[in-house]
Symmetry: C3
Subunit: 358 residues, 3 copies
C-alpha cells in the first residue's frame, strides 16, 4: 500500500519520519484531539489501556472529521451517521446494516507515547520502528527540572531550524532578552559535523556567567567556562546543550552544570509548523524552575515567532515563482548544511518511492 | 440569446430551473434586496403594483451593484452616475444625454411571487414557464399552521439534499434533539421511485407517538402508526410528510394527522447555499405553532449546518483534484439516486445548449 | 541593470515614473516607514541631514522586512542578524565577519522630498530626473490655505482617476454632499486636450456661488461665473481648478478667486492604491481652512471609496477572465482618453525594455 503520492514541491519534509504530534500530558483519556501534521488532518485518542492511537481525521463515509464524533471505549463513532472505527482504522460498525464495507477503513498512523511527547510516523507504516523514537533522560528522570510547551508558528519549519542553528541573531532579535547577555554576534560559529548531524559550537571562556543561567545558580561574578553546542538531530529535533564549568571551584563544590534546550519542529503545512520548546537543567531543581523556563520562552521565542512569520508572509506574497534575493555568510554554514541534509533525505525518500519499495 | 456559457465543473446545478430566492414577506415595497444565487448577483425589488422583479446586480456602465442605488417607482437608479433601469433591465435614462445606448440593458430574470416564496428562473428565459412554479396548500390555506425561515449554509447544496434523504443520521447528528425520539438508525430505508423522484419511506408502527409530533397533539402513550416519507422533488425542493394514524380512535375522534417538512435549497456558489426550511401541521393550529417550529429548527438544523460546513471545509482544503475517500452503504441509496438524477439533468442541459436550442 | 521584468498584465501602471509615496510631514527623523507601492515593499527613512531615502523593505540575507529593524544614523540595521545597509542600499556591515558579500546590497529607489510630498521613482534609476518632480505653489506659498491627507482605497487606481474625470457622478454618489450643490448631471463635459493631457471643463455662468466655495467667501446670492477644469497630468497626478469671478464686483473689490483640488494616486497593488487628496484656496486664508477642507473630504471622498471598492470587489469575484459588461457614454470621453493615454505609456515602457535600452 502506497501512502504518499508525488511530493508537492512545497512539502519540504520527509514523510517516512517520526515527528512530535502532542505532549503526553495534553492527550487526556476519553479525548479526541485533532491536529494537522505534514498537511494531514489527524485525530489522536487514547485506547482503554491508555495507549495512544491516531487515525486520519475524516470519516470514510461522507467526510465528517472524526474528531467531531464520540469516543466510546476503543472506538470512534462518527458524529454524522454513527460509523464506528477501531484504533487500527478498521470500520467495525455501520448502524443501519449488519456488515461493513471493506473499503470503509481509514488510515491509521503508528504513534508512540514516550513522555513527555507523543510521536507520529507519517509515512509508510512498514518502515516505522518504535525503537527509533528518542527518549531524553533530562525530560524524564530525577535530578532535572524541565518544562515544555507548544507554539504555533505560521512559517515553514525550516525557518525555525535555521534560526536555532545560528545564534548570532541573539543581539538583534532578542536585544533586550537573550541578546543582552552575550556577544554572540562576534562569533562566526564553525559547524562541527558528527554522526552526519549539523552542529554549532560557541565558547565563552573565563567569563562571569550570564544571568539566564546564573540567576538560580548564584555564582555572582565568579569566572566560568561555558560551551554552547547545538545539534540538528533530524528535521524533527534540535538539541542544544549549555555546559558550565566553574573555573576555580571551592573545595567540595560541584564544578559542572548543564542546561538543555530542545526545539522540536513538526510541519503543519508548508507554511506553518508546531514548535515545542523544552528546557531542562541539573541544578536548582525546584518548583520555580518551570515558571522560570516559561518566563524566558514566552518572551524570547515570541520574538522569533514574529520574525519568522514576517519572513514567511513576505515570501508568500511574492509567490512561489519569485526569485527572492538571498545572500549567505559564514554564520549561515550550519543552516545551509541542514538544508542540504534535508534535501538528501527528501531525495532518498523520493527515490525509495519511485523504486516501488514502499 | 445565450445566457449561460460553458458549465464550470464545480457548478453542479441546472440553470434552466426555478429556485426559491426569497420569501414573499422579506421583499418589502421600495426595497432593493441583493442576493447571490447560482453564482450570479441579483437585485430583487417590487414594482409599483407589487410585482416582483429581478435584475443582474451590476450596472452596465461602470459596474456598481444596482442594489447600492435607489428605487424610484419602477426604476432603479444607479448610485454612481444615475443610469436608470426598468424592470425588464432596459436602460431607460442616462442623466447626461438624451439617448440611451442599446447595449446598456442588463439581464432581467423571470421571477414569480407565489407566497410564501419568490422564485427565480436562472436560465434561458424562453424556457421559463410560470405555471411550473409550485404552490403548497399547507403553506397558504386555512387549517394549517406553518413557518419558514432561511439559513445560510457554507456547503454545496447537494450535501443538504443528501442529508434530508437519509434520516439515519438522526441518532448521531441530532443526538439530544430529533435523534432522541426515534430509532432511525435501525432503518435501511428503501428508496421508492415514483414520478422519477427520489424518495425514502420509514414506518413506525403500533408505537406511542414521539414528542416532536405529540407535544401539541396530546395523545400521551396511545398507540399510532406513523409513516415518514420524503421526496426530492427537484434540485430546489425536498418535501417530507409525516402521516399519523391513531390505532384505536375514540368515537368521533379525528384519526389522521399530517406534519409537513420542506427543505428548499438554492445554490449561492458551488460552496454555499440558501436553505429555507418550512414546517406545517393540520392540528393544533394556533398562535404558538410557528414559535414551536422555530424552536425545533433553530436547534436541529443548526446541528446539520455545523456538520455540512465541516465537510465542505475539509473538501475545500483538500482541493479540487483530491481523490477523497467515499464509501457508501445501503442507507445512501436515495442520496446516490439523487446524485444520478441531478447528473442527468445537468447532462440534458449541457446537450441542449451545445445543440444551439437555447 | 534591469529592475523590472515582464509586466504582469494586471499591473496597469508605468514603473518609469514619479509617484507620491508619503507626505513630507509623515516621515519623521529617525523613523522607518514601510509602504507598498506598485507591488513593491519599500522602507522610507531620513538620513542624518534629513534627506529622504528608500530601500526595498527586505533584507538580502534572510528576508526580514528592514522596517522591522532599527535606524542608526544613516544606516538601517536588520532586526534579525544585524546586517547594516546605507541609504544607497549597499550592505556595509555583517556583525559576524569583517567583510560584506557584494551581492548583499538591496535595491535603492530615487526619492525626492518636495513638500508637501515625497516622491519615488519606481523604475530604472538611470531614467530618473529629479527636475521632473512637480512643485505646486498653492501647496507651499503664502496667500494660500491648504490641506492634504492619504486615503487607502481597495480598488485599482484608474477607477479613481476616471472618477475625478467625470464629475457627473456628483448628484448620485454625493447626493447629500457635493451633489447637492450643482447640476453636474446636466453636463456632457467635452474633454479639452492640451499638452497631451486629458481634461474636462464645466461652466456655471451667471449663478449664485455654491455653498462649498461661498461659505467662507461670503458672496451670498451675488452672481458669479464659475469654471471647473480638471486635468489628468499623469497617472500619478490629477489637478482640478475652480475659477470664480464675481459678475459685478464692487469698487476696489477683488473679483477673481481660485480653489484647487489635487487627486494624487499611487498604485499599491493592482487592486488597491494610496490616494492623497489636497485642497487649496486663495481666499479666507485662515486657521479654520484645513479643518473645513477635511470636513468636505472626509464625507465626500469616503462616498467615492465605498463605490470604487464595491466595483473592484465585484470585478475580483468575477475573476480575471470574466468578460464584464461595460457600456460607455459621452460623459466618459475624458476617462476613456485617460485609459488610452495610459496604455500608450505602458506600451512605450514595454517597448523600451524589450529594446534593451533600460
Amino acid at each position: 500500500m502506497v501512502y504518499v503520492e508525488m511530493r508537492n514541491p512545497e512539502e519540504n519534509y520527509p514523510f517516512d519520519h517520526w515527528w512530535v504530534i502532542a505532549t503526553s500530558e495534553e492527550l487526556g483519556q476519553g479525548q479526541l484531539l485533532p491536529r494537522k501534521v505534514l498537511g494531514m488532518d489527524v485525530v489522536l485518542f487514547r485506547q482503554d489501556d491508555g495507549t495512544a492511537a491516531a487515525l486520519v481525521d475524516r470519516c470514510s463515509h461522507r467526510g465528517l472529521p472524526l474528531s467531531m464524533g464520540a469516543l466510546e471505549g476503543n472506538r470512534i463513532t462518527c458524529g454524522y451517521h454513527g460509523f464506528q472505527f477501531d484504533p487500527t482504522g478498521t470500520l467495525v460498525a455501520v448502524p443501519t446494516q449488519p456488515n461493513c464495507p471493506r473499503k470503509g477503513s481509514v488510515r491509521a498512523f503508528p504513534v508512540v507515547d514516550k513522555a513527555p511527547y507523543i510521536w507520529i510516523w507519517t509515512g509508510d507504516p512498514a518502515l516505522a520502528n518504535a525503537d527509533d523514537v528518542p527518549v531524553y533522560p533530562w525530560l524524564r528522570e530525577p535530578g532535572w527540572a524541565w518544562a515544555t510547551e507548544r507554539i504555533h508558528v505560521a512559517a515553514n519549519y525550516m525557518l525555525l531550524k535555521e534560526n536555532v542553528l545560528d545564534l548570532t541573531h541573539f543581539p538583534f532579535a532578542h536585544k533586550s532578552t537573550l541578546g543582552a547577555i552575550d556577544s554572540y554576534a562576534n562569533y562566526s560559529p564553525p559547524p562541527v559535523l558528527g554522526d552526519d548531524r549539523v552542529c554549532y559550537r560557541n565558547e565563552f571562556l573565563n567569563q562571569p556567567l550570564s544571568p539566564v543561567y546564573n540567576d538560580d545558580l548564584g555564582l555572582g561574578d565568579r569566572l566560568t567556562d561555558r560551551v554552547d553546542e547545538g545539534v540538528s538531530v533530524s528535521p524533527a529535533v534540535h538539541i542544544a546543550k549549555v555546559s558550565i564549568r566553574i573555573k576555580e571551584p571551592r573545595p567540595g563544590e560541584k564544578a559542572e552544570y548543564a542546561f538543555m534546550f530542545h526545539h522540536m519542529t513538526t510541519p503543519e503545512t508548508p507554511r506553518s509548523h508546531h514548535y515545542w520548546w523544552a528546557m531542562a537543567r541539573d541544578y536548582a531543581v525546584n518548583d520555580k524552575a518551570a515558571a522560570y523556563f516559561k518566563s524566558i520562552a514566552h518572551v524570547a521565542f515570541a520574538e522569533d515567532k514574529v520574525i519568522l512569520e514576517a519572513i514567511q508572509k513576505r515570501n508568500d506574497e511574492a509567490g512561489p515563482g519569485a526569485n527572492l534575493q538571498e545572500v549567505s555568510v559564514v554564520a549561515d554554514r550550519a543552516g545551509l548544511m541542514a538544508r542540504r541534509q534535508l534535501q538528501a533525505l527528501l531525495d532518498a525518500e523520493d527515490r525509495r518511492r519511485a523504486g516501488g519499495t514502499v
